[in-house]
C-alpha cells in the first residue's frame, strides 16, 4: 500500500515540459469533488451530523414527548447529565465493568491470537491451512449466532458445559454444576461473554500475526539460534520489534471493537432487567430505548463518554496510519 501511495505521488509531480504533440490528459478541477460528493453527503448526513447531535442531546433534557411534532423543544440542561453521571455509583460500576471486561477480552485475544499465529507459522503448510480454515468458521459466525450457540452451550441443566463440568467439585459454585446458572451473576455472565468475544476475534489476530511473520526474514531467527536464543528470547528480540506496528494496530482495533460490545450481551443477558451486567453500550441503549420514558439526553451523555474513550484510542490508530503513509 505504501508503495502504491508512493507511486501515485510520483505520478502527480508536474512533468517537465510535456511535448507539444503529447499533452497528458489534464483532468478538470471539479472532477474529484463530483466523485466524492455522494460519499461526503451521505457520511455527513447519516454519520457525522449525529455525532454533533449526540453532544447537543447530552446537554438537553430530551425524552419522547419532545419528539412529538406538537411537543415542547428539548430544554437546555447544561452539564446536568454529566454531573449526575459523575456522582452516580451505578455509572461508575458500569464504567469499571466495561473497562475490566474490555481489558480481559483484549488481553486474552491478543495473547491467544499471537500464540496461535506463531504456532501456525511453525506447523507444516497443510496442517496450518486446516487450522486456519477451522478458525475462519469461528471468525465468520455472525454475532447473533455465536451468542446463541454459547447461550445454549452454557444453559443450566442441559447445556454441554455444565454436563462436562459436573465432574468438578460442587462447592466451587455452591449447589452443584448441573443447574448452575451462568447468566444471572455478572462474574459468570462476563466469563461467557469474554469467551464468545475471544472465540470470535482470536482468528483475526492469529491470521494477521501469521501474515506478519511471513514478512520477517528467516535469517534473523537463524542468527538468533546460533547465538543461543530460545523461543521466548527470539520472540521478544526479533518478532515483537519487527511486528510492533502490526501489534499496536491489532491492539487498538481490538480495544475499539471490544469497548462497544452489544449484540452478544443482548443475547446472553436476554433483556435489560439485570442491571448488574450492564456495559456502557448496553446502558446507552437502555436509556434510549428501554427505559420508560426514554432518556435520550442521559443516553447521549453516556454515548459521549464512550465515544471519547474510543476516540482517544483511535487517535493512536490515526497516528499509526499517518506514519504508515495511509493518508497520503
Amino acid at each position: 500500500m505504501a508503495q502504491t501511495a508512493e507511486a501515485v505521488r510520483a505520478e502527480d509531480r508536474p512533468r517537465p515540459e510535456p511535448g507539444p504533440d503529447r499533452s497528458p490528459p489534464r483532468r478538470r478541477k471539479p472532477t474529484p469533488y463530483l466523485l466524492i460528493a455522494p460519499t461526503l453527503l451521505l457520511l455527513a448526513v447519516v454519520l457525522l451530523w449525529p455525532v454533533g447531535q449526540m453532544v447537543w442531546n447530552s446537554l438537553h433534557a430530551y425524552s419522547t414527548r419532545h419528539l412529538l411534532p406538537a411537543g415542547p423543544a428539548p430544554g437546555w440542561n447544561g452539564f446536568a447529565h454529566y454531573t449526575h453521571l459523575l456522582s452516580d455509583p451505578f455509572f461508575w460500576h458500569v464504567l469499571r465493568n466495561t473497562v475490566a471486561v474490555c481489558a480481559l477480552m483484549v488481553g486474552i485475544t491478543m495473547v491467544l491470537g499471537t500464540l496461535v499465529g506463531l504456532l501456525l507459522h511453525k506447523l507444516p503448510k497443510w496442517f496450518s491451512t486446516i487450522v486456519a480454515v477451522g478458525m475462519m468458521l469461528a471468525w465468520a459466525t455472525p454475532a447473533i449466532s455465536a451468542s446463541l450457540i454459547f447461550r445454549w452451550l452454557f444453559l443450566p441443566e442441559r447445556g454441554l458445559a455444565n454436563v462436562l463440568l459436573d465432574g468438578m467439585p460442587d462447592w466451587l459454585v455452591g449447589s452443584g454444576w448441573l443447574d448452575y446458572s451462568w447468566f444471572l451473576e455478572p462474574l459468570s455472565l462476563f466469563t461467557v461473554l469474554i469467551l464468545v468475544i475471544v472465540w470470535q476475534s482470536f482468528p483475526f489476530v492469529a491470521v494477521s500475526v501469521l501474515a506478519g511473520l511471513k514478512s520477517v526474514p528467516g535469517e534473523l531467527y537463524e542468527a538468533a539460534r546460533v547465538d543461543g536464543a530460545g523461543a521466548w528470547r527470539s520472540f521478544w528480540s526479533i518478532t515483537f520489534p519487527m511486528l510492533r506496528p502490526l501489534f499496536s494496530l491489532l491492539l487498538v482495533l481490538q480495544i475499539i471493537w471490544d469497548l462497544r460490545v452489544f449484540t452478544q450481551l443482548y443475547i446472553l443477558a436476554n433483556g435489560f432487567q439485570n442491571t448488574s451486567v450492564y456495559l456502557l453500550s448496553y446502558y446507552i441503549y437502555q436509556q434510549g430505548f428501554s427505559a420508560s420514558p426514554p432518556n435520550y439526553g442521559m443516553g447521549s451523555a453516556i454515548a459521549v463518554v464512550m465515544t471519547a474513550m474510543i476516540l482517544a484510542v483511535s487517535a493512536y490508530y490515526l497516528r499509526i496510519m499517518i506514519r504508515q503513509g495511509e493518508t497520503r
Binding site: V8, I36, L42, L43, V46, V116, L148, S208, Y285, L318
Partner: protein, 307 residues
C-alpha cells in the same frame, strides 16, 4: 542470552538420538496444540449444526451425544416452512435481509468506486481531510450514535413525511454509510495499482473517459470491488443494533438476525429451531468468508500486514 548459551552449546555433544527424540516430541506438541486450536475454533459451530440436526429427545438428553443419533431435518423444516414470528414466514425475513444487504452493497460499491478513483487519481484540497474523516468515522461506534440517528430519522419523518423508521429503506441508507469508509479504503489501493500509462495509452488511441473507465480501469479493479462488496455484505448481513432500533414492532420487515433474537426471546427453549435458524444465518457468511478472508486482514490492518 547469557543463561541460554551454555545449555545450547552443550546440545551437539549429547548426540543425535536425543535431538531427534526431542524434535519428535516438539513436533507432536505442535500438532497437539494445533489440534486443540482447531477443536476450540470449530466445536461451537459443530455443536450448532449438530443440535440443529438432533431430534428434541436427543437435544435434551441427560447425556448429550456428540453426533446426532437419529439425524432429522425437522427443525430446519419448522424454521423454513413454519412461522418464526406469527404471521410472517422465513422467506419474508430472508427477502428482507437480502434486500438490505444487496441494496446497501450495490449503492456502496458505486459510491466507493467513485470516491476511490478520486482519492487514488486526483490531488485536491479536501483529499487528506477526506481520508482522515473516513478513518475517524469508522471508529465512532454505532452503539453511541444510534440514539441520534433514530431521533434524526424521526424528525425527518415529522417534517417531510419521509418514512425511514419501521421500513427497510432507512436501514439500507445507514448500512451504506457504515460500509463506505472501509470499502473506499479497500478499493483505493486497487485503483492506485492500475498503471496510469495504460489509461493514457487508451486515451491517446482515442478512448473517451467513459471507455477508459469501463475497458481499462474496471477489469483491473473488479477483484477489489468484489472483495469490498463481500465485506460490506457480511457487515450488513450480520448487523443487529440498527435493525433492532429502526424496525421496532414492524415484524414483517425484520431481518434475519433480528428475527432470531425475537424468536429466542419468545421461544427460548426451542433450541433445535434456534440452532437451525442460526445455521441458516451463518452459511452465507461462511461461503463469502472463504473468498475474502485474506483481503479482510489486509483491509482491516491496512498495510501493516501485506496479506
Amino acid at each position: 542470552m547469557s543463561t541460554a548459551a551454555p545449555r545450547r552449546t552443550g546440545t551437539p555433544r549429547t548426540g543425535g538420538t536425543r535431538r531427534r527424540l526431542s524434535r519428535g516430541l516438539r513436533r507432536t506438541g505442535l500438532y497437539a496444540a494445533g489440534t486443540a486450536v482447531l477443536v476450540f475454533a470449530v466445536f461451537p459451530v459443530y455443536w450448532m449444526v449438530s443440535t440443529a440436526l438432533k431430534p428434541v429427545s436427543e437435544i435434551f438428553a441427560r447425556q448429550p451425544r456428540l453426533l446426532p443419533g437419529a439425524p432429522t431435518l425437522d427443525h430446519f423444516d419448522r424454521v423454513v416452512n413454519g412461522q418464526l414470528i406469527p404471521g410472517v414466514n422465513f422467506w419474508q425475513f430472508l427477502a428482507n435481509s437480502l434486500f438490505v444487504t444487496l441494496g446497501s452493497v450495490a449503492v456502496a460499491a458505486v459510491m466507493s468506486l467513485l470516491a476511490a478513483v478520486a482519492i487514488a487519481r486526483f490531488r485536491f484540497r479536501l483529499r487528506t481531510g477526506l481520508i482522515l474523516l473516513l478513518m475517524l468515522i469508522q471508529m465512532v461506534p454505532m452503539e453511541a450514535m444510534i440514539i441520534s440517528i433514530f431521533i434524526n430519522f424521526r424528525h425527518l419523518q415529522d417534517v417531510s413525511g419521509v418514512q425511514l423508521l419501521g421500513n427497510l429503506t432507512g436501514i439500507v441508507i445507514v448500512y451504506t454509510a457504515v460500509a463506505l469508509p472501509i470499502t473506499i479504503m479497500m478499493l483505493r489501493g486497487f485503483v492506485a495499482a492500475v498503471p496510469r500509462e495504460l489509461e493514457e495509452a487508451a486515451a491517446i488511441d482515442g478512448a473517451g473517459n467513459w471507455t477508459v473507465f469501463w475497458q481499462i480501469l474496471m477489469p483491473l479493479v473488479a477483484p477489489g470491488l468484489v472483495a469490498a462488496s463481500i465485506f460490506a455484505f457480511i457487515t450488513a448481513w450480520n448487523e443487529f443494533i440498527v435493525a433492532l432500533t429502526f424496525l421496532g414492532r414492524s415484524t414483517e420487515n425484520y431481518t434475519l438476525p433480528l428475527t432470531l433474537s425475537y424468536y429466542f426471546g419468545r421461544f427460548g427453549t426451542e433450541w433445535g429451531a434456534i440452532m437451525a435458524a442460526s445455521t441458516l444465518l451463518t452459511i452465507p457468511v461462511m461461503i463469502f468468508f472463504l473468498f475474502v478472508q485474506r483481503r479482510m486482514v489486509a483491509g482491516l490492518t491496512m498495510g501493516a500486514v501485506k496479506g
